[in-house]
């Protein structure tokens, strides 16, 4: 597994806690279409079920996202990965890491778990082919020591997919 264990992370700040509670309430009232939050008592790690949108390459398939929140969320982006097996996609590595700018350099504190989910689903839906990124093996090997995708220096060279 590539993510650090929850015990090694700092617990949520009061502001982060407050905000996540509000996001959770809003999610329960108004969940994004195609997603299901698996309710646990752990506010700092959400596991979310994703259903491929009908009419796309991923229709009928189900995947799981793992969202880990840092102490200073939302001033820092959460870590979002697919729990393997990850969908076959030119921007998703076999270890579950996702190459998507809003999760890293282009994060904004006005984004929410819900808006991240919608971005990920739209990334899946617009995929032209089910294949791994060209550098998949090299990247996954580099991550063997449990490196977080947030430590990767991503190159977002393709914004068409």
């Amino acid at each position: 597994m590539t993510s650090p264990s929850p015990s090694s992370r700092k617990s949520l700040s009061k502001i982060a806690c407050n905000r996540l509670q509000k996001e959770l309430v809003e999610w329960e009232l108004n969940p994004p279409a195609g997603f299901k939050h698996k309710v646990t008592d752990n506010l700092q790690r959400w596991v979310i079920e994703v259903n491929g949108a009908p009419g796309t390459l991923y229709a009928g398939e189900t995947y799981q996202l793992q969202v880990d929140f840092p102490e200073h969320y939302p001033m820092e982006a959460p870590q979002v990965i697919f729990i393997p097996p990850a969908p076959l996609h030119p921007h998703i590595y076999s270890n579950g890491h996702i190459c998507l700018d809003i999760l890293y350099d282009s994060w904004s504190p006005a984004m929410t778990v819900s808006s991240i989910c919608i971005s990920i689903l739209s990334m899946l839906s617009s995929s032209p082919a089910k294949q791994r990124p060209a550098d998949n093996d090299r990247y996954v090997k580099n991550c063997r020591n449990g490196r977080s995708p947030k430590e990767t220096r991503w190159w977002f060279h393709d914004d068409k997919v």
Partner: protein, 281 residues
């Protein structure tokens, strides 16, 4: 020794006593700290900080009468003392003087925001203020709902009595009067539910909430893009994340933020009508 030199020597001695008091305070020796500040006050009674420092010691010992006395003296000397207004507010709340206490806390917060908008004091004052406002609401809404409940029962009783009277008088039209009666009961229920709406906890409307905190605004500021944020949060974003508007991603600098007075007024009006929204968990 000339009078000024003598006065300077006294002031210096008082300052030293204050330092001693501060040291004792950090060691949690509040009695000794109070003695030191008391001596400093005896030498220089016109320095407001000696009074507020001593008040802080009294606060630690839950001696609220003395907190109130010292803070009132400090305010006489300096109308703009955040700490004096803050602790005076707390002391008044202890005496269940809610309205006066809340007024002092609000004064402290306005003064504190002007001096140092990110200070730890602001958060602490806000927490105390919200707690007091929530208690005040709880107290008043309990009274209101009790009154409504009594009134509702009286109205229902009166309707029932009328219905019984009518059904004896107009024998043969029993179905119609029963139907009218149950309709009236239902309408009565609606009226009373409506009357209790303001005191029923619900969601705060989105337009009164910051898109970063998702919480009701305290100190709203607007960006050139027209989006409103909580001041402390947008400043932190500009410092830590980047110099852009979090929603529109237009370039943004701290100097461009302007208080959104209309939203501030709207929040105040909403909170006046819906005290439950002060809940801070």
């Amino acid at each position: 020794m000339s009078p000024t030199v003598a006065a300077n020597a006294i002031a210096k001695q008082a300052e030293q006593l204050k330092q001693d008091g501060n040291f004792c305070f950090t060691k949690n020796r509040f009695g000794a700290a109070i003695d030191a500040y008391t001596e400093a006050i005896a030498l220089c009674p016109n320095v407001p900080i000696y009074w507020t420092n001593r008040a802080l010691c009294h606060r630690k010992r839950n001696d609220w009468t003395r907190v109130e006395e010292d803070c009132k003296r400090a305010i006489q000397l300096d109308h703009n003392s955040v700490k004096a207004h803050y602790m005076l507010g707390l002391a008044l709340l202890q005496r269940k003087e809610y309205a006066e206490g809340v007024k002092e806390l609000e004064k402290a917060m306005d003064l504190g925001r002007g001096a140092n908008p990110h200070g730890y004091m602001i958060e602490e004052i806000w927490q105390e203020l919200a707690k007091a406002k929530y208690l005040q609401w709880e107290h008043e809404s309990t009274k209101r709902s009790w009154e409504l409940q009594n009134l509702k029962e009286a109205c229902e009783g009166a309707l029932e009595e009328k219905h019984l009277r009518d059904s004896v008088e107009v024998e043969g039209f029993l179905d119609e009067t029963t139907e009218a009666y149950s309709e009236q009961l239902e309408a009565l229920g609606r009226v009373f539910r409506k009357a209790a709406e303001g005191d029923t906890p619900a969601e705060v409307p989105d337009y009164l909430c910051c898109k970063i905190t998702l919480d009701i605004f305290r100190d709203p500021v607007i960006t050139p893009s027209g989006v409103t944020y909580e001041r402390a949060e947008i400043l932190e974003h500009l410092q830590k994340v980047g110099k852009f508007d979090p929603i529109t991603r237009e370039p943004l600098y701290p100097s461009q933020l302007v208080p959104n007075l209309a939203i501030k007024e709207a929040v105040r009006a909403f909170l006046d009508q819906h005290g439950w929204a002060y809940k801070t968990d």
